[in-house]
Point group: C14
Chain length 92, copies 14
């Protein structure tokens, strides 16, 4: 049953670290973009609509990198092919 | 019972580290966005409503990355499929 | 009794590190927001009410990430399902 | 008696590191807020009362994260459930 | 079955770390580009169309580095030639 | 006598590191606050009294985080419950 | 079969790390270049064509370093001479 | 005599590291405060007395954190209760 | 066959790390140069030809350091004298 | 004679590291203070006497932290109570 | 044959790391120099010849440090006296 | 003779690291002071004498921390009491 | 023959790291000096001769530290007294 | 002959690291001083003689810290008292 424990252990660690480390970049990047958007609105209120629209497209793009990490993290917890294989092997 | 201890150990460590590391980015990003919002309000008080609204949408977006980490952390503590499996295996 | 010691050990370490590491980001982020709020009040005293209100909402949002960490830390000390399981197993 | 030594050892280390690491962020954040408050008073002496009041609310909020760490540190030294359990087990 | 466990273990760790580490750069780079775009629109609203177009081409270019990482991560989970080989060897 | 050595060893290391690491933040934060106070006095000599008073309250607040660390450090050296327990156990 | 496992293991780790680490630099560099391009267009709209052309040449040059890493990563996964040799040796 | 060597060893290491690490923060903080004081005197020579007085109070406050570290370092070398105990135990 | 595995292992790791680490510097340096070139063109459009020419010479110079790394990486994978020697020794 | 070697070894390492690490902070802090003093003299030559006097008091204060480290380092080499004890024990 | 493997292993690792680490500095330094050259040409087009000439001399000087690293790297791969000695010893 | 080797080994390592690490701070600090001195002379040529004199006193103060490290390093190589003791013990 | 392998191994590693690490500082320092020289020429073209001359003296001084590292690296590869001794001992 | 190998090994490593690490600080410090000197000459050409003279004295002072490291490095390679002792002991 040792393989089972090893695969389970690294799946847990990796799932956590992936989303934890992967959130640092997007959070900082989004913070910067939002901050600049607010500054731009204050400077040019008439362009608020264009600025907000561009901001949301940009945020979606940045958020996508966080979502890649979340997807990999969820796959490792709930749809992990390596775990399925060792469970099947252990149960077979 | 060794597998049980290993899986439990890494679940605890990972749950804690995930939320701890995953909070650094959002907290800094939100701090930056809030700081800039206050500066923008001081500069253009008439646009306070637009600025506040954009700020809250942005904060929700940034907070979402922290919530991903919190969700993974809670799953690892209270709904951990790897732990359930080894407990079942140990009890079976 | 070895599993008991391992689970207890990592619970203590993780509880401490989670709150310690998890406080760095919020503290710095809040410091930045408060500093900018004071600067904004000095620049636009007439908007002090709006600025203070926005500041408090923002601080609550940032503080929430610290509270996530505190919650996880308290769960690991006082309501740890892994510890409960190994204690029950050791006592059973 | 080995479990006792391990639990005691990690309790001491964690108690110290929690408060030590957990103080870096709040101290820097408060330093920044105080510095900006002094700058704001110098710039707008008439608003000194509003600035000071906002500063103290903000400092209390930042200090709260340091207090979370202090609380966890004290719990680990004087009200540690894991230590109580292993002492009871060793003495039982 | 030891080779199987080793290959599985490093595949999981690497898949997670690749996407986690690989997202930091693109997220920060995109955050910077979006922030500057908003600032440019506020400064020169008449050029919003040119700016937005150039921004999207640039974001696609930056995103491509994140996608390289995502591709490698997915290959390591779902189309890993090393894993296929050791599974075949173990099953043969 | 091995438990005794381990508990003593980590108490010494932790006591030292706690105060050493815990002093970095407060010292830098206080340095920043003092520096800004001097700059504010030079800029607005008439407000020297208000500035100095606010500075001292702020310094006391920042110093408090250093004092938390000093308290934990002294407890670990002179009133360590874990050490008392293992000494009593060794002498019993 | 131990050589096989070692070679496979390091191939996976290296393939992932190469593309992950190798993307940080290009992503940040491209982000900087794009950001400056947008700023330049806002400042001198009449030169948008020249600026965009120079930008794309520069981005291609920066992207090339990311592609070097992607190439090495793909070689290590799909055309690894060391792996081929140990597989042949193990099968021979 | 092994306990004696371990306790002595960590006392020496901790005494040195405590004062070494604990001096970095105060030295940098004091450097910043002194630098700003000189700048303030150059800017507002008439307030030199107030500035110098505030500087010295601030330096004393910052120096206090260095002195905490020096005190702990001296206690560990010359009045170490853990060392006294193991020496007494070894001699008893 | 152990020498073979060791040499193969370090060749793979080194080939990957060399190109990954070696790309960080050139990518950042080129990003800076391109960004400044765009800024210079916007500032002095009449000198676009001279600026572009100097930029390309500079980029080639910076790229050369990335190419050194790529060359070493390729040598380690496809023309590695140490690997050739141990393969010959193992086959001899 | 093993205790003797361990105590001697850590005394040497700690003596060196204490003064090496402990010099970084003071050297940087003094560099900053001296640099600012020169700038202040250039800006306000008439106050050169006051500036120089304040500078020397400040430098003495910063140097004091370096001297704490030098004192501890010398104690560990030439008046080390732990070494004296193990030498006496070994010779007794 | 163990010496052979060790010498080969460290030769490969060192050759790769030497050029990888050694390229970071020159690439960043050249990037800075080129960027400033472009800015200088934009500011003073009449001096383009002098600026370009000085730039190329400077680039050659900076490149020389990268070439030192490349030379050492090539020596370690193709003219390594330590490898030659152990090969001769193994073959003798 | 093992004690002899250990003491010799750590003396060499510590002597080298002490001077190497201890030179970073002074070199950077002196570089900053010299740079500012040149800037001050350019700004206020009439005060060149005062500036140069203050600079040299400051440089001497900063250099003193480098000299502390050099002294400790020389003591560890040529007048090491721990080495003398183990040599005497080995020869006795 | 083990001593031979150890001495050879550390000679290779140290030779490579010495030149690799030792090039970072000079390359960055020279990059800064060259960049500032170009900026100075653009600002004061009439002083180009003096600036270039001072630049070259400065570059030679900075390069000298890189050359110290290159010399040590070459000594370790081609004139290593420790290697000569163990080769002589092994051959004797 | 093991002591001989250990002493030789650490002498080589330390000699290389001492000069490599010890060159970073001086190179950066000198780069800063030279850069500022060029800027000062461009700003105040009439004071070029004074500036150059002060620069050279400063460079000599900064270079001195690099020379301390070079001296220690050479002593460790060619006049190492620890090596001489173990060689004599091994030959005796």
């Amino acid at each position: 049953m040792e393989s089972l424990a090893i695969i389970g252990m690294v799946s847990i660690i990796t799932a956590g670290l992936t989303i934890a480390v992967g959130c640092i970049g997007p959070a900082l990047g989004e913070g910067r973009a939002v901050a600049q958007a607010l500054s731009a609105i204050a400077q040019q209120p008439d362009e608020a609509a264009t600025i907000t629209r561009t901001l949301f497209v940009g945020l979606a793009m940045i958020e996508s990198t966080a979502i890649y990490c979340f997807v990999v993290s969820m796959i490792l917890i709930f749809a992990n092919p390596f775990w399925d294989h060792v469970v099947a092997a252990a149960g077979g």
